[in-house]
């Protein structure tokens, strides 16, 4: 119970800080929208074409926009040496990590919540037809992304070239998660049910990725933060 309270306290602090400054969320929103709009104008895809690459397009937009959010996650703690105060407090490193991951998840889901309607309008897709399965895939895919991203954000927080290092590390590790999310999103937007044979295979794959990387991150975050 105390652990959960710590997770929520850290997440609440991060969200409050972010909504006060809107530094990361504004740039992330803008970046996702620009990718979606540019792609639409550049290729002017037909409805048929869109159905084939929709998952890829959406998750590339989310992944690039998400990197901007994740980069700020631990960098936010650098001014005034706030990270030291968090490490000194009696909060388990795992709670600190999960709190930050939860805040990142909520922020990235907000970006996605705006991106989906824009995608629907500009690519003429009725994405709401499979709203709940799509939401499930979005949450699972985004959780995998935020867990890996938050972990590498902690790892690279004191590195000078962290803006370069973070995407390099995150995207490489994240390939399986992105692949599964892209495949599932494409399937759902094509009107296939999540319970199709292919859908279930990718769904299990995505859940396995989330479980494995969440466990690894929670197990190693103390080592990452303290050394």
């Amino acid at each position: 119970m105390i652990f959960l309270r710590h997770v929520l306290t850290v997440a609440n602090k991060d969200l409050r800080s972010e909504f006060r400054t809107k530094e990361a969320i504004n740039s992330s929103f803008s970046f996702a929208l620009v990718i979606l709009l540019l792609f639409s104008f550049a290729f002017d895809p037909t409805e048929e074409m869109t159905r084939e690459f929709s998952g890829g397009l959406l998750w590339i937009a989310f992944a690039f926009a998400g990197a901007l959010l994740l980069n700020r996650s631990f960098v936010r703690e650098l001014p005034n040496d706030c990270l030291d105060a968090l490490i000194a407090s009696p909060v388990p490193a795992a709670a600190l990590f999960l709190g930050k991951s939860l805040a990142n998840l909520i922020l990235l889901l907000l970006v996605e919540a705006v991106s989906f309607p824009v995608f629907g309008v500009f690519y003429n897709q009725r994405w709401t037809q499979q709203f709940w399965p799509l939401l499930l895939v979005a949450i699972l895919g985004t959780w995998g992304f935020t867990v890996v991203g938050t972990m590498f954000s902690a790892l690279t927080v004191n590195i000078r070239l962290r803006e370069v290092m973070l995407p390099l590390l995150v995207y490489t590790t994240l390939l399986p998660c992105l692949m599964a999310s892209m495949q599932l999103t494409t399937l759902l937007l094509a009107g296939e049910p999540l319970t199709s044979v292919e859908g279930l295979v990718w769904l299990r794959f995505l859940i396995a990725f989330d479980v494995i990387f969440s466990t690894l991150a929670v197990a190693f975050v103390e080592t990452v933060l303290i050394g």
Partner: protein, 232 residues
């Protein structure tokens, strides 16, 4: 009871030995002043004692336990070089946040009480980024003392403080000592520190040169210890 027990601690940054076989102890209810020139290893030692870094070799125990134990962390307050409060939050929000992290029974009441003690009540809802340097420093002091720690680890606490913040810090440190708190502080402001210190430790290029009760001569002559070790 020994509050801080440092036994044979070494720390390397690459090939450079920042700390070389440091052993010292601070009994409970005492105030230990860590002295030494820049680069002597004071901050590194304090960071290892606070559990921010691990020693390369050797062991640190606080109240007989590992510094990274949650129970130990509840008992320590750390004031480093940074003020460690969030610019985007108000003074009250910052203290409530740390009150919640330290699992205080009533974080809001504790926050209000410390804002009052540090003279920040009137600006409790002001964002820290709008505060003057002195106000930020007083808020940092409030954050450190909020949970009534048994052990205070202070890294150059008097550096760059304005008169009012020095007075606030001196007062709360004296109150802390009176209620049985243990203080370990690194400092270059020897005159201010000697008013509180019961013991002094001199570090020199990562080595321990002197450890013991504060010599009475240091009250009148803060540079007395350095004069005994001219090469330190």
């Amino acid at each position: 009871m020994t509050a801080v027990d440092v036994a044979g601690v070494w720390k390397y940054y690459g090939d450079f030995p920042a700390l070389r076989d440091i052993s010292l102890a601070a009994e409970a209810h005492t105030c230990l002043a860590l002295l030494g020139r820049n680069g002597a290893g004071k901050t590194t030692l304090l960071r290892i004692v606070a559990g921010f870094q691990r020693a390369g070799r050797g062991q640190v125990r606080l109240f007989g336990r590992d510094p990274r134990d949650l129970a130990t962390r509840r008992r320590i307050g750390v004031l480093g070089h940074g003020i460690a409060v969030y610019d985007e939050l108000s003074a009250l929000e910052n203290l409530i946040l740390f009150g919640q992290l330290y699992e205080l029974e009533d974080p809001r009441r504790a926050a209000e009480e410390w804002l009052e003690r540090t003279g920040l009540s009137r600006v409790r809802h002001g964002l820290v980024r709008e505060f003057s340097r002195g106000m930020r420093q007083r808020l940092a002091i409030a954050r450190v003392f909020l949970h009534h720690p048994d052990l205070l680890l202070l890294d150059e606490p008097f550096t760059a403080l304005d008169d009012r913040a020095v007075a606030v810090l001196q007062r709360v440190l004296q109150d802390g000592l009176a209620r049985g708190c243990t203080i370990v502080m690194s400092t270059h402001q020897i005159r201010e520190a000697m008013e509180l210190a019961t013991h002094v430790v001199l570090l020199d290029r990562g080595r321990l040169r002197h450890a013991g009760a504060r010599p009475p001569e240091m009250l009148a002559d803060p540079g007395w210890l350095y004069s005994r070790y001219p090469d330190a």
